[in-house]
């Protein structure tokens, strides 16, 4: 192909990060933003636990406590762990499928910036002083303007809508990437488990996020424009919110946990030096879990009173999920069986994940039994259950993934000794925090209480729980310390630093060049790289000769589109406020601010449509110059 040479602006420094459309850099951006929000959510968690360290504690007042639990849940789920999942997906999936890029590099950047500005908007509620306080589930009527008169819930609905757009775009991008961008020979049934899990997760995002977006829009219309969706006096129905929220909310749980399943599969298999046991049943189980995930939302609503028929059906549907989950657990165990297990920090997290997640799984089955759930529901038993799943499952999985792929992302192996110490600190802290909470719930402690009376036999268990939480906090700080000291080391990780790598990401330099693969690899089987290694090859067979590589141009538009939505969010939120200031009143009350924000975003969309992106080429000579082995 003949092509004209375009001179493309290539930025450096800050502008490089603001304009990048490189999935690896976007992965790093997701990681930094996710870690930032995870930190905020973690501090909120520690404050919650300090308040509950003893009965009738006065460390926090009731209102602040409700704000903290609301923001802790919302931040951790939407802004903490999901971006870290996206960080790993961005950094790794194109490499695992042998692609040079994602399907939509521009959209990918847009997804990040909308997520980021949505999250920022939500968290600015702390600075502005009216914080969401109706729980991360924001049940109406508590979240309606009648009972929540300040802007807290407005931050929630607007922030999450904007962040949700970003997540949805990310999901679409990864679906298209995995369907269209696989290297020759990389059939679906040869894809690594992490890619498979991310594929299903992306599909769940695609079908679940629009539901919550609608829910948030309805709540926003009620709160900002006097709508009646949930206003009982005008015929609205608060239960509708619960249905919409959980139709999204339950798949969300699987959106979170499936990538962890994928990470664990890859890590366990790598460090056992064994092929993943029962690969095809693993794939099937993942799909089945994703499918069933949409069928069980009402198990969050047994105590809402849906009637015995619905409760019985949703009970049984929920129990069914245990079957594919069980398949996964045993497949992991039998992957290790007969293997040669190396306990790196990454593998410690993965191996620690298995029994911990089983704990969360079995309590999940217990909760599925509706009559018993009448007792468990909205108690600390539930708190223990979902933290076992999300922290004991997902967060341990993420730590495993971060340790495992850190060298691929940054060219440096995290310090192993420190990593293992961190694992034990975090793991023991986790068990201390949440194991006792099962019993707190069973013996009568409801969740979301800002304090409790003495003499109810809650004191000791709450104390243990708080000590555990502090240990987890120390664990996270140790991880950050590890990141810091590691970043001071020279970036000298080899292509395959664990030496047991099985998949394509370990065939290219750490960190990879911007085009990932100098030559697109030819995939000849599952565990493509392992197969080549076992046949004595030192590199993949190329599927094409070395040639010039086309790359997309960087763009600042995604950043401004995010900012536009951010401004519009503020504009809508304060449209009815009196600022005691003619200028501000004029700007906000006439929707000028909201309009300007939307205009910025729409103008950027327009520009994106009319200005063609010719991209640029990395020429053959340049590839040879770098002397990079692909």
């Amino acid at each position: 192909m003949a092509h004209t040479t375009h001179t493309v602006k290539r930025y450096s420094g800050l502008m490089d990060w603001l304009t990048t459309v490189d999935h690896k850099k976007i992965g790093v951006l997701y990681l930094i933003a996710g870690a930032f929000f995870f930190g905020i959510g973690g501090i909120e968690a520690i404050l919650i636990r300090i308040q509950l360290i003893k009965p009738q504690n006065t460390f926090l007042d009731a209102q602040t406590f409700n704000e903290l639990i609301t923001m802790h849940g919302t931040t951790m789920i939407f802004l903490g762990v999901m971006p870290i999942i996206f960080a790993l997906m961005n950094a790794i999936i194109p490499l695992q499928i042998g692609a040079r890029d994602v399907a939509f590099p521009f959209l990918n950047a847009l997804g990040f910036w909308t997520f980021f500005f949505g999250g920022l908007l939500l968290n600015l509620s702390w600075l502005i002083g009216s914080v969401p306080d109706a729980g991360w589930t924001s049940y109406v009527p508590l979240a309606s303007t009648t009972y929540s008169t300040h802007h807290g819930v407005d931050f929630y609905v607007l922030g999450l809508q904007i962040a949700g757009i970003g997540t949805l775009l990310g999901g679409i991008n990864f679906l298209a990437t995995i369907i269209n961008m696989r290297a020759p020979g990389m059939s679906f049934m040869r894809m690594p488990m992490f890619t498979w899990a991310s594929f299903i997760t992306s599909a769940l995002i695609l079908f679940a996020f629009p539901a919550v977006t609608v829910g948030l829009v309805l709540l926003m219309f009620d709160r900002l424009f006097g709508g009646n969706f949930f206003e009982v006096a005008n015929g609205g129905n608060p239960i509708l919110w619960q249905h919409i929220f959980w139709i999204f909310g339950h798949p969300e749980v699987y959106i979170l946990i499936l990538p962890a399943f994928g990470i664990i599969s890859d890590v366990v298999s790598t460090f056992s030096r064994k092929r993943l046991f029962g690969y095809s049943s693993m794939v099937f189980a993942t799909i089945l879990i994703g499918f069933l995930g949409f069928m069980v939302w009402a198990h969050h609503m047994f105590a809402t009173g849906l009637g015995p028929v619905a409760n019985a059906l949703f009970s049984i549907a929920t129990m069914l999920i245990a079957v594919p989950t069980g398949i996964k657990i045993f497949n992991w165990l039998f992957t290790m069986w007969g293997g040669s297990i190396k306990f790196t920090a990454a593998n410690l997290y993965a191996v620690g994940f298995i029994p911990t997640f089983v704990m969360g799984g079995v309590t999940g089955v217990m909760l599925a039994s509706a009559p018993a759930d009448f007792q468990f529901h909205d108690t600390y038993f539930v708190v223990a259950h979902f933290h076992y799943v999300i922290v004991g499952g997902l967060v341990l999985g993420l730590f495993a993934g971060l340790h495992y792929w850190w060298p691929k992302m940054f060219g440096r192996v995290l310090k192993e000794g420190l990593g293992k110490a961190t694992f034990w600190m975090f793991f023991i802290g986790f068990q201390l925090t949440f194991f006792v909470q099962h019993f707190l719930g069973l013996t009568g402690m409801p969740r979301r209480v800002f304090t409790y009376l003495p003499n109810q036999r809650f004191d000791l268990m709450n104390l243990i729980s708080t000590i555990g939480a502090i240990m987890m906090g120390i664990g996270v700080l140790m991880f950050l310390w590890n990141v810091l000291v590691t970043s001071l080391k020279p970036a000298n990780a080899s292509n395959d630093p664990w030496e047991d790598g099985r998949t394509l990401e370990w065939t290219i330099p750490s960190p990879p060049p911007e085009y990932n693969f100098k030559q697109t690899p030819l995939v000849r089987g599952y565990d493509a790289w392992w197969k080549e290694k076992m046949e004595g090859n030192t590199e993949m067979q190329p599927a094409e000769p070395v040639g010039s590589i086309h790359m997309p141009s960087p763009s600042i538009l995604p950043f401004f589109m995010g900012i536009g939505l951010f401004i519009a969010g503020f504009g809508f939120m304060f449209a009815k406020d009196d600022f005691n200031n003619a200028l501000l009143n004029g700007l906000f009350n006439n929707y000028v601010v909201a309009g300007v924000g939307l205009l910025i975003t729409l103008t950027c969309m327009f520009l994106r449509s009319v200005i063609d992106d010719p991209g640029y080429h990395i020429e053959k000579e340049e590839l040879e110059d770098k002397g990079v082995k692909a």
Binding site: M1, A2, H3, T4, H6, A103, F104, L107, L168, I172, N173, L175, A176, I179, N180, M181, L206, F207, A208, F209, P210, A211, T213, V214, G215, V217, L218, F221, D222, F225, G226, G227, N228, F229, E231, N234, G235, G236, N237, L240, H243, I244, I247, H550, F606, S609, V610, D612, P614, G615
Partner: protein, 205 residues
């Protein structure tokens, strides 16, 4: 891509899928419509849950005037047909014809919007405002979301018409026109559901 025509110089059978970018765009857009389907599905479910909660406001059967709705429906269905013709012209590389069909689509889209705005203004006069009842809120939200999609669609297609006139029909612009046509059909399908669920079911009670 900088190469405007196919490698062998021929206009390909499916120009929207002739490049990887084009294939990605078409696939990605179908996925996006999957999400849109859930979005409208949720809005429909909400409407169905609340459609009888009319409070003190007018009921659907008193409100809706089927002739006008039928006219709007015919207009929108016709616009889907014109966009089919546009895509046919696209496949045959008949640029002028394609642009004419696209203009027809946009005109019909604006006509539909005009009718819808007229309808809404009428309803407001009859005391059926956004805040009247749960039914009215759900009605304006569902139908309004659709209307906003139509508005976005006509603006988008207009921009594409100008683009094609300036840059010509090539492997960069072809996928854009093609996905805008899928979008337009999707909006049309949603309207068929709105016509049935909101208007017909509203009329019969």
């Amino acid at each position: 891509m900088s190469a405007p025509v196919h490698a062998d110089g021929q206009w390909p059978h499916e120009p929207e899928k002739a490049t990887l970018e084009g294939r990605n765009k078409v696939l990605g857009f179908w996925l996006f419509l999957g999400g849109e389907a859930v979005l409208f599905g949720t809005l429909f479910a909400t409407f169905l849950a609340l459609r009888n909660s009319i409070g003190d406001g007018p009921a659907a059967s008193e409100l809706f005037k089927l002739p006008m709705i039928a006219a709007a429906t015919i207009i929108l269905l016709a616009s889907s047909l014109t966009s089919v013709f546009a895509v046919q012209a696209l496949h045959q590389n008949r640029v002028k014809s394609m642009i004419q069909w696209l203009i027809a689509t946009v005109v019909l889209g604006f006509a539909f919007l005009g009718l819808e705005i007229y309808e809404f203004v009428e309803y407001v006069h009859e005391g059926h405002t956004f805040t009247t009842s749960a039914f009215s809120t759900a009605f304006y939200t569902l139908v309004g979301f659709h209307g906003a999609h139509v508005l976005f669609g006509v603006v988008w297609i207009t921009i594409l018409i100008v683009q094609v006139q300036k840059k010509g029909l090539n492997l960069v612009t072809a996928p854009k026109v093609y996905v805008s046509a899928i979008y337009w059909h999707f909006i049309d399908v949603v309207w068929v559901f709105i016509f049935t669920v909101v208007y017909l079911m509203g009329k019969v009670g």
